[in-house]
């Protein structure tokens, strides 16, 4: 392997920095996010402000691509049912 393969690109450093700027002392893990994401999605759909608990969902979604993918799919279903 060439030495430069082991380097982080500027893009990757940007990703770490973004991760760190979103990091909180207390965070939801994926399981907790799943437990509350339905409430968050309904608030988003109704343009209602999100409370403190479900604000943690928003923070988790910003950091976790998998939960975000599932949230976006959920919004697709909810919008189709409106």
């Amino acid at each position: 392997m060439k030495p430069e393969d082991k380097r982080l690109t500027s893009e990757q450093v940007g990703s770490i920095v973004k991760m760190l700027s979103l990091t909180r002392d207390r965070e939801f893990n994926c399981g907790e996010c799943l437990q509350h994401v339905s409430e968050f999605a309904e608030c988003q759909l109704a343009n209602k402000p999100v409370g403190e608990i479900i604000a943690s969902v928003e923070q988790h979604l910003a950091l976790c691509p998998e939960c975000r993918e599932e949230y976006e799919a959920l919004m697709k279903i909810l919008k189709a049912g409106q």
């Binding site: 990703s15 700027s21 990091t23 998998e66 599932e70 799919a73 959920l74 279903i77």
Partner: protein
């Protein structure tokens, strides 16, 4: 059972009904809803067949029934159940996608991400603050993280699915998330100690 609208049905009660015919009707209704939702969500994906939709709907139904006690009524029941169904389906689809990757490739990737990290200082031009940030960050990644924490962070940066990172670490999902969270907190702490504030971090990129 009369299923008319969402507002008129108490799903948890219907799904637990003692009358077995009522209960079966509620289960069947829910299965139909999950199936329809999955169809909307996964529409257009070439890796999803009708048979997959059937499997996902059935597996989701069982998962929802298994977790009925966890429903707190903070959203509509159907929204909560759909979220679980999507989690079941996407987890399985991600697993399949990565199944095609050979074990050798995974092992190589696993080895690679546990190697010491190098960040090229020269990639960031002459901006002093940014160079300082990168220097501190590099040192923190190399010195302040455990090998597993470093592997988890590097896996994320390589856009490896989280379940794959979990497998690589040989641990549970929640333990892996905690490992990653602790790693991020450690890095952030190190930056703060080096006098780099949250605002600096946000402004740097």
């Amino acid at each position: 059972m009369q299923v008319v609208t969402e507002n008129e049905i108490n799903w948890p009660a219907a799904l637990r009904a003692s009358d077995s015919a009522d209960q079966a009707a509620a289960v069947s209704e829910l299965r139909g809803l999950l199936h329809a939702g999955l169809r909307v969500a996964l529409n257009g994906r070439s890796d999803v067949s009708e048979a997959h939709l059937e499997d996902f709907a059935q597996e989701s139904l069982l998962r929802v029934l298994d977790r009925l006690d966890q429903f707190q009524g903070r959203s509509k029941f159907t929204t909560w159940a759909q979220a679980i169904a999507l989690n079941v389906a996407f987890t399985e689809l991600r697993r399949k996608r990565w199944q095609d990757v050979s074990l050798d490739a995974l092992m190589a990737d696993g080895e690679r991400i546990t190697e010491p990290t190098m960040i090229a200082d020269d990639a960031f031009g002459a901006d002093e603050d940014r160079t300082h940030l990168v220097k501190v960050l590099r040192s923190a990644i190399e010195n302040d993280l455990t090998p597993k924490q470093r592997a988890a962070i590097m896996g994320e940066l390589r856009e490896m699915p989280f379940d794959q990172i979990v497998e690589l670490l040989g641990t549970s999902r929640s333990a892996a998330y905690k490992m990653l969270h602790d790693a991020r907190r450690a890095l952030k702490q190190r930056l703060l100690e080096a006098g780099i504030t949250g605002a600096d971090i946000q402004n740097a990129f």
